[in-house]
C-alpha cells in the first residue's frame, strides 16, 4: 500500500486533507485543471470584473435624506430605508458619500455587493430582499457558490435552496450544513446519497463528525462511500476495522486530526484482529456502550497499552482508580493532555504508588507549555518544589512532625497545631480551626459535623467516618457504641480492633477478649478476623487460659498467616504443650518469610528438639543462613546441621563464597565437617601462617579446652572411645602449635587416657605401644627447659605424673604378660595332653614335637624381653616384685619347653 501522506492537492490548511475536485459533480480533478473532465464545469472561479455601472446602495436613517438626483427607496428594513443610487453616468454627486456608501462600492461584482449588504440586514425580511437581489443578479454557478458560502457561514441553511447549483452539489452542501449544526444522522443521510467516489472531502468531514461524537457504529453505514474514495485514508481504515499492519503504513501524521484518529484506532485494536467482532470497531463500540451505560471500561479487551488510553482510564475512574492498572510506558504527551493530568493531581491520594509514579513520569517528561504549570503543581504535591504558600509550608511541617517550626510559624502553624490536638482527642481544638484560611472547603463541613458530635449529637458519626483521618479521633472521643451501629462495616471492624488492642495495653484483658469476639462476630474478612483472633488469643493467655489462647491462634493461622501470627502461635502453643516443644518453632523456621526469623526459630527449635529427624528438617534453613548475610553466631550454630545431616550438599559447596568464610572460626568449623580436610590440620596451618592471629589463638585455646574437658571426663562412660579421645589429643600435639603448658598437659593426659583404654580390658589382645612413653618424655623435657617459663611446682607435678604414667604403663604391660602367661601354660598343658593321648600302635612325630617346643620357647623369650623392659620403668616396689615373679614364671615355662624338646 502506498504511504498516505496527508495533505495533497489544494489543501486549504494543514489540518485537512483536500484533493481538488469538481464542486458540481464531485469528481476528483487533476491539480491545476481548469475544467472538470467529467462534466465540463469550471474548477477555478472567474475573477469578477469591477462593475461601477451597477447601482450602489446607501442607508437613510429616520429624519435624514441622502442627497442626490435619482435616488429612491427600494428596501425597508425595520424602520430603516435603503436607497439605491444610480451610478451609471455622473448624475449622482458622491462628494458626500458616507462610510457605508463608500464600503458598498468596494466589492467588485454585483452579487458580491448584494451578498455583502446581506450582512447589514437587521431583519429576516430585509435579508430576504437583499438575498433576492443577489439571486436576481446571479448569472453563473460561481455566483451561487459565493452565496452558498455566505449562507453556510451564517448558518442560514434555508437560503441554500433555490441556488442555481447542481443537485449533487446541493446535496454535498447539505452535508456541510448538517455537520455544522451537529446533525450527524443527517450528515450520514446526505453522504449516502452522493455518487460513489465523489466529493473526497467527506473523508475529513466524517473524521471531524466522529471526533465530535458521531458513534463509529453509525459512521460505518457510509463505509462503502469512504472506501470508494480512498480505502487507505485513516478514516476508511478506522471504519473498516483495518488490521494494525495497515496503520503502520500511514506516515506519521502531519495533522492532529490524522494523528488522533490513528491513535484512536491503534489503542482499539483487539486481541485477535482477524476474528470477527474483535476488531477496533467492535472494541470501540463495546467501550462506547460501557461509557454510555455508566459502566467500567472493558479494559481487558484493549490489548495494546497506550499512554493516552491509560491516562484516560485513570481520569475516567479517578474517584476510585483501584482497578486500573497502568500498563503502558509513561511517554511524554502533548499539551492537549495536560488538563487530564491536572485533574488527576487534584485526586492524587486515591492513586496507587504505581499510578502516581507513572503519572509523574509523564508530567515530568512532557515539555509543552501547558505542562509547565502542571509540573509546578506536581513539585508541590511531591514535596520537591517550593511550598508556594504558608499553608503548604505549615502542612509540610505538620506531616514531618516539625512542631518547633509550627510553634514559630504564626497563625498557619497554630492551625496545624490545633489539628494535632484534635487528632489526639482534644475536641476544644475545633475552635482554633474554624474560619482559618488553611481550612479547605470540604474540611469546613467536616469540622461543623465534628462540633455537633462534641456537643452530643452522635447521629453524625456515620457521616464523619467517611473521613478516615478522623477515625482515631472518634475512638479517643469515646463515641458511644450505639452511635456506630449504623456506620460502615469497615469502620466498625477497625473500631473494634483498635478498642480491643487498647484494652490489652491497659491490662483490661476481659474487655479486650469481649471486643475481639464482637469483631469476629461482625467481620468476614480474613485479615480482620485473624487480627481479632490474635488479640483474643493474647487476652486469653494473659488471663491464664493458655489452652483457649492456643485454640484461637490455631484458627488464626489456619489459612494464610503472617510471620507475626506464626510466632505468636508458636509461643502460645509451646507454653501450652507438654511435649514436642521444638515442633512449633520448627514450623516457624520452615514457614516464616523473614529469613532472620526463620534462623532464630530454627535455633529455638534446635534447643528443644530431641531427635535427629527434627534437626535434619532444618537443613534447608541452614543452607540459606550459611550463604546469606547474617550474624556469625547463627551461622556457626547452623553449620553442624548441614555438616551432619546434609553432608553431600556440604561437601559440594564452595565455602570460600560464604560471607562468613573470612572468619577463621568458621573456616576451621567447615574443615571439621569436611571429609577431605582435617580441621586440626587446617587450624595448625593457619596458626603457622598467622601465629599472632588472636581469633585463631582463641580457637586453638578453645579446642584445647574442649579436648581437655573431654579427657577430664574420660572413663566415666564404658562405651566411650577413649582411644579416639587420646588420638585427638595426640594429633593436636602433632599438628597444632601449642602453648608450652598446653603441650605438657596434653601430652600427659593423652597418654593417661590411652592407658585407661588399654587397662580397661586385660583380655584384649591390644597392648599400649612403647611410643606412648615418648609423649611422657616430651612433657618432662618441656618443663626442664627454662625458656618455657615453667616453675618448680610445674616441674615437680610433671615429674610425679610421668612416674605414675610409667608405672601404669609397666603395670599394664606386666599384667598383660601375666595373663599371657596363664594362657601360655594352658596351651603348653594342652600340647602335652595331646602327646599323651597318642594311642597304642600310633607313631609320635618327634620332629614336629621338637619344632613346636622350640616355637613355644621362642614365644616365651619375647615375653621375657618385654617384661624385662617394663621392669626397668617400674618405680613402685610391689610392682617390681610382681614383675620379677612374672619374669621367673616365664623363664620356668621356657625351660620346661626346652626340656620337652630335648627329651623327645
Amino acid at each position: 500500500m502506498a504511504a498516505y501522506v496527508g495533505t495533497t492537492g489544494t489543501g486549504i490548511h494543514s489540518g485537512v486533507t483536500h484533493r481538488p475536485f469538481c464542486r458540481s459533480c464531485g469528481q476528483v480533478a487533476a491539480p491545476d485543471e481548469a475544467a472538470c473532465s467529467s462534466c465540463g464545469a469550471s474548477l477555478v472561479p472567474p475573477r469578477p470584473a469591477a462593475d461601477d455601472s451597477f447601482e450602489a446602495i446607501g442607508v437613510k436613517t429616520a429624519g435624514t435624506r441622502k442627497a442626490g438626483a435619482g435616488t429612491f427607496p427600494i428596501i425597508r428594513d425595520e424602520g430603516r430605508k435603503w436607497f439605491v443610487l444610480a451610478m451609471n453616468g455622473a448624475e449622482v454627486s458622491l462628494k458626500k458619500k458616507d462610510a457605508e456608501l463608500s464600503s458598498a462600492l468596494k466589492p467588485a461584482g454585483r452579487v458580491q455587493r448584494w451578498v455583502h449588504w446581506c450582512n447589514h440586514a437587521t431583519s429576516d425580511q430585509g435579508l430576504q430582499q437583499f438575498w433576492n437581489r443577489a439571486l436576481a443578479a446571479a448569472s453563473t454557478e460561481w455566483d451561487g457558490r459565493l452565496m452558498a458560502q455566505w449562507a453556510l457561514s451564517k448558518t442560514r441553511l434555508g437560503l441554500l435552496d433555490g441556488l442555481n447549483l447542481s443537485q449533487s452539489e446541493l446535496t454535498w452542501l447539505k452535508i456541510h450544513s448538517a455537520i455544522r449544526v451537529g446533525k450527524f444522522e443527517d450528515t450520514l443521510h446526505w453522504i449516502a446519497r452522493l455518487e460513489d467516489g465523489t466529493y473526497p472531502d467527506i473523508l475529513d468531514l466524517l473524521g471531524y463528525a466522529v471526533a465530535k461524537g458521531l458513534p463509529l457504529a453509525q459512521a460505518q453505514k457510509v463505509q462503502d462511500k469512504v472506501a470508494a474514495l480512498d480505502p487507505h485514508h485513516p478514516v476508511a481504515l478506522l471504519l473498516s476495522e483495518a488490521p494494525l499492519a495497515q496503520w503502520k503504513d500511514v506516515q506519521p501524521a502531519e495533522t492532529p486530526v490524522l494523528r488522533h484518529l490513528r491513535q484512536a484506532a491503534l489503542f482499539a485494536v483487539g486481541q485477535s484482529e482477524d476474528a470477527p467482532g474483535s476488531g477496533p470497531l467492535a472494541t470501540l463500540a463495546k467501550v462506547e456502550r460501557s461509557l454510555v451505560g455508566g459502566e467500567s471500561l472493558p479494559r481487558e479487551s484493549l490489548s495494546i497499552p497506550t499512554t493516552t488510553l491509560d491516562l484516560l482510564l485513570l481520569w475516567q475512574e479517578r474517584a476510585d482508580p483501584g482497578g486500573i492498572e497502568v500498563r503502558s510506558d509513561p511517554k511524554p504527551l502533548d499539551d492537549s493532555w495536560a488538563p487530564y493530568a491536572d485533574d488527576l493531581l487534584e485526586q492524587w491520594s486515591p492513586l496507587s504508588t504505581a499510578q502516581q509514579t507513572w503519572l509523574e513520569q509523564i508530567i515530568r517528561g512532557s515539555t509543552g507549555s501547558a505542562w509547565e504549570s502542571v509540573t509546578r503543581r506536581l513539585d508541590v504535591l511531591s514535596g520537591e518544589g517550593e511550598a508556594g504558600s504558608p499553608c503548604e509550608e505549615a502542612r509540610r511541617a505538620y506531616v514531618s512532625g516539625d512542631w518547633s517550626y509550627l510553634r514559630n510559624a504564626g497563625g498557619h502553624g497554630e492551625y496545624f497545631l490545633a489539628l494535632a490536638d484534635l487528632r489526639d482527642g482534644d475536641a476544644t481544638a475545633t475552635d482554633r480551626l474554624q474560619g482559618h484560611e488553611c481550612l479547605p472547603l470540604e474540611g469546613k463541613r467536616t469540622l461543623d459535623l465534628l462540633e455537633t458530635l462534641v456537643a452530643g449529637q452522635h447521629e453524625q458519626v456515620s457521616i464523619l467516618v467517611q473521613d478516615p483521618t478522623l477515625w482515631e479521633t472518634l475512638v479517643k472521643l469515646d463515641v458511644p457504641a450505639e452511635s456506630i451501629v449504623d456506620t460502615p462495616l469497615r469502620f466498625r471492624e477497625w473500631h473494634h480492633l483498635t478498642k480491643a488492642k487498647q484494652a490489652l495495653y491497659d491490662d483490661h484483658f476481659s474487655e479486650a477478649a469481649k471486643i475481639a469476639r464482637e469483631c469476629l462476630r461482625i467481620s468476614t474478612i480474613e485479615d480482620i478476623r485473624d487480627e481479632a483472633l490474635n488479640l483474643l488469643g493474647v487476652a486469653l493467655l494473659s488471663e491464664g487460659n493458655a489452652e483457649a489462647a492456643a485454640t484461637a491462634f490455631d484458627k488464626a493461622i489456619e489459612d494464610a498467616h503472617s510471620d507475626r501470627l506464626l510466632v505468636n502461635w508458636a509461643i502460645v502453643r509451646s507454653a501450652s504443650a507438654s511435649d514436642g516443644l521444638g515442633d512449633h518453632w520448627l514450623e516457624v523456621a520452615k514457614k516464616a518469610d523473614h529469613s532472620p526469623l526463620r534462623a532464630a526459630a530454627g535455633l529455638r527449635a534446635l534447643s528443644n528438639l530431641d531427635d535427629e529427624n527434627g534437626e535434619a528438617q532444618l537443613t534447608s534453613i541452614a543452607r540459606e543462613v550459611l550463604f546469606s548475610a547474617g550474624d556469625l553466631d547463627t551461622a556457626m550454630a547452623y553449620l553442624p546441621i548441614v555438616g551432619r545431616h546434609d553432608s553431600t550438599w556440604f561437601q559440594g559447596q564452595d565455602w570460600s563464597t560464604s560471607p562468613f568464610f573470612e572468619s577463621s572460626a568458621f573456616k576451621v568449623r567447615v574443615a571439621l565437617y569436611h571429609s577431605d580436610q582435617d580441621h586440626l590440620e587446617v587450624l595448625g596451618n593457619l596458626l603457622r601462617k598467622h601465629p599472632e592471629d588472636q581469633e585463631l589463638l582463641e580457637i586453638r585455646d578453645s579446642v584445647v579446652d574442649s579436648v581437655m574437658a573431654v579427657m577430664g571426663g574420660a572413663g566415666d562412660d564404658e562405651d566411650e572411645n577413649q582411644l579416639g579421645i587420646a588420638a585427638w589429643g595426640l594429633q593436636m600435639l602433632d599438628v597444632v602449635p601449642l602453648k608450652p603448658r598446653q603441650e605438657a598437659i596434653l601430652s600427659l593426659w593423652s597418654v593417661q587416657v590411652a592407658l585407661q583404654h588399654f587397662g580397661r580390658d586385660y583380655e584384649d589382645d591390644e597392648l599400649p605401644g612403647e611410643g606412648l612413653l615418648k609423649f611422657v618424655t616430651r612433657a618432662e623435657a618441656l618443663v626442664v627447659d627454662d625458656s618455657k617459663g615453667f616453675d618448680e611446682d610445674d616441674k615437680r607435678f610433671v615429674s610425679r605424673q610421668a612416674a605414675i604414667l610409667r608405672d601404669e604403663y609397666a603395670q599394664q604391660n606386666i599384667t598383660w604378660h601375666a595373663h599371657a602367661h596363664d594362657r601360655a601354660v594352658d596351651t603348653y598343658n594342652g600340647f602335652i595332653d595331646s602327646i599323651r593321648s597318642i594311642g597304642y600302635g600310633q607313631r609320635l612325630d618327634k620332629q614336629k614335637v621338637r619344632a613346636a617346643a622350640q616355637e613355644f620357647s621362642d614365644s616365651c623369650q619375647l615375653h621375657i624381653n618385654e617384661v624385662s623392659t617394663a621392669l626397668q620403668l617400674v618405680s613402685d616396689e610391689d610392682l617390681r616384685q610382681m614383675s620379677n615373679n612374672l619374669l621367673s614364671a616365664w623363664k620356668e615355662l621356657q625351660s620346661t619347653a626346652q626340656g620337652l624338646k630335648r627329651s623327645v
Binding site: G15, P45, R47, A148, Q149, L152, L205, Y208, A211, K212, G213, L216, P256, V257, H260, Q263, A264, L284, Q316, D335, S336, A338, L345, V374, R376, R377, V380, L381, G383, S389, E392, R395, L419, L422, G443, L447, L450, D467, T469, L470, T473, L497, T498, K501, L504, Y505, D527, E531, N534, V538, A556, R564, L565, V567, N568, A570, I571, S574, P596, A600
Partner: protein, 141 residues
Amino acid sequence: MSDRNPYLVLGIDYGSTLGDAKRAFARAARDLKRGSARKSFERADLSWALNEVEHEITDPEAHIGYLRVPANAGLYESIGSGLLNPDPYLPDRQTNTSVSAPSRGMIEMSPLADVIGDALLEACDPGVLLDPYPMLEEERP
C-alpha cells in the same frame, strides 16, 4: 517465654521505634507519679521494658521472645487524606478547569472523542474545515 512483654508494659505496638518507646516510658512514668496510670505497674517494670526494647531486641521481626500485638499493624493505619491529613495545598491550576464542559460532554459521549480530546477541536477550526469553497476566499479582491 517471659510473662512480661516490654511493648505491652509500655502500651505501644510491637516493633515500635526506640523513640516511641522512650515517649511511652516518659508518659507512663508521669502517670505513675501522678497516680493516674491506667494499669498497675512499677517504675522498675517500665525500666525493664525500655531496656529490653533498647538493648535486647535488635530486630523485632526476628526476635522470638515476645508476643506480637498487633499482628497486622497495617489494619490500624489511617490511610487517605482528610481533615487531619490534608492534601498538599496546590497552586492554582493554569490549564482549563478540568476538561472544558463541552469537551467533558463529548468525552462522555464517545471514547474516540476521549482520545481526540481538546486538541482535535482546536486543530479543526470548523470555519475552515467546513468551508466548501476555499478558492473563493483566495480569489476575493
